[in-house]
């Protein structure tokens, strides 16, 4: 690949990720409204699409206020971390043959590492805010995200064993015969649950549970600093959906349509499923979430690895 082509891909991926994240906000509001028998934003532009633009103009021009009691440098840095880590994780995703930023042999590990680093954003935000709600939110985020990170990593191992590689491109190629969502059903379910918890999306939004913690770790944030957390969350949903597509639903593989379109379509459907989860499920209690994770999901993930490994060993 030439220099220009590489740059095009890098900026294309970053731009696409940001645009999709912005459109996710619109999509989420419209779909939630649809499932709640409402309309959602439908006034600004066609189908309310420009609502996102209007909201962006509003949030950028808002007063950017840092509370006097906050730890200023950390407070300012925290929102950036989540956007940077999530955007960096996009680098390893193979969108289509030839369209990926880097071809890492440790792609899966890189993704897991980057989503783990995202925890710092939430923790530092909660700590630097110097407010009780933010601190409790940050504490919950540590326990939840680090805990579910473990199961997330373990649930992918079945896929890695089947494909025999950490390289995401090779994982996709290995699914030519059969998508891994069939032999790895358990892994898929665990990965989806852990992914929702990892991106602290509803129903697992305990770090920012507004019914108990005001807004959790971003209680004290305003204007574009809050907007960065928001952006990070929607980038995260897209990232997790893209990862599920890559790991379990055969990435760009599919008949007739061009590969990039297949990838976008699958990712879109998984995003819609995440929004459906938000529309239908209540938030569990904090202790329930932790007990679930350590007592049910972790053993299941280990059993999944054991069974997959056993079958692979006896088969070959």
């Amino acid at each position: 690949m030439g220099e220009l082509q590489i740059l095009t891909v890098i900026f294309g991926v970053a731009l696409a990720a940001l645009v999709v994240a912005a459109l996710n906000i619109w999509l989420e509001r419209r779909l939630l409204a649809l499932w709640q028998d409402r309309y959602g934003p439908n006034r600004v532009g066609p189908f309310g699409l420009l609502q996102v633009l209007a909201d962006m103009i509003k949030i950028i021009t808002k007063e950017d206020w840092v509370p006097p009691f906050a730890d200023r440098p950390v407070f300012v840095a925290a929102p950036g971390i989540v956007v940077v880590t999530v955007l960096t994780a996009y680098a390893v995703i193979p969108f289509a043959p030839g369209i990926e930023v880097v071809r890492l042999d440790t792609g899966v590990l890189f993704f897991l590492a980057m989503s783990s680093l995202g925890v710092y954003s939430v923790v530092l935000a909660g700590w630097a805010s110097d407010s009780k709600y933010a601190l409790i939110g940050g504490l919950r985020a540590v326990a939840q995200m680090l805990g579910y990170e473990v199961y997330m990593g373990l649930s992918v191992m079945g896929v890695v064993m089947l494909a025999g590689s950490f390289n995401l491109r090779e994982i996709v190629e290995a699914q030519r015969g059969l998508w891994f969502c069939f032999p790895q059903v358990l892994g898929l379910v665990i990965f989806v649950i852990a992914g929702v918890a990892e991106m602290h999306r509803l129903p697992f939004d305990l770090p920012e549970a507004e019914s108990e913690l005001v807004a959790g770790y971003h209680s004290e944030y305003s204007a574009m600093k809050f907007g960065m957390f928001f952006l990070g969350e929607y980038l995260g949903i897209t990232l997790i959906s893209a990862m599920i597509t890559t790991l379990f639903f055969g990435g760009w593989l599919g008949p007739w349509l061009p590969p990039l379109l297949w990838f976008a379509l699958k990712t879109f459907l998984i995003i819609v499923f995440f929004i459906l989860l938000r529309a239908s499920l209540p938030r569990p209690r904090y202790d329930q979430l932790m007990a679930w994770g350590w007592k049910l999901v972790l053993p299941l993930a280990l059993v999944n690895i054991l069974v997959t490994g056993g079958i692979l060993l006896s088969w070959r």
Binding site: W35, Q36, D37, R38, Y39, L276, L277, S280, L281
Partner: protein, 171 residues
Amino acid sequence: MWSHVRTIALVFLHMFRKRETVLYPEVRPDIPPRWRGRIILSRDPDGGERCVACYLCAAACPVSCITLQAAEDGQGRRYPAFFRINFSRCIFCGFCEEACPTYAIQLTPDFEMGEYDRQNLVYEKEDLLISGPGKHPGYNFYRVAGLAVGGKGKGEAEGEAPPVDVKSLLP
């Protein structure tokens, strides 16, 4: 676990239901005639002002948004010299309408009173007065009241017996 799956399925099926939202500026909401909206002052069937400036509405108003000043014309009819309602205070409770003895003050099914300037929410008498009788078409207070006003003496009101000459009853 099963109940969660069932919940997700049921929420998904809501996709095919009718939406509850009324798209307001295009679709007008169906407002009942007794809706408590913008306050008006009505007139007699003859065209005279119904308000007799008794101050009962101002006294009944829980937020004191009604101000008026009584006056009397040459024929003995009372009327408000000015009548002012501050709609930025009004809570549209309808107590003024209940208190009014002459059906003069009435609430209407109009709610589109948005203003950019708060001062424009203060309505004067000429803003409040309408040309018709409102919800009580046949009613004319001075025609049924026993009060003597210009052109109508004692005992000449509708359904009223002429006053008894007390002295004629003496033996």
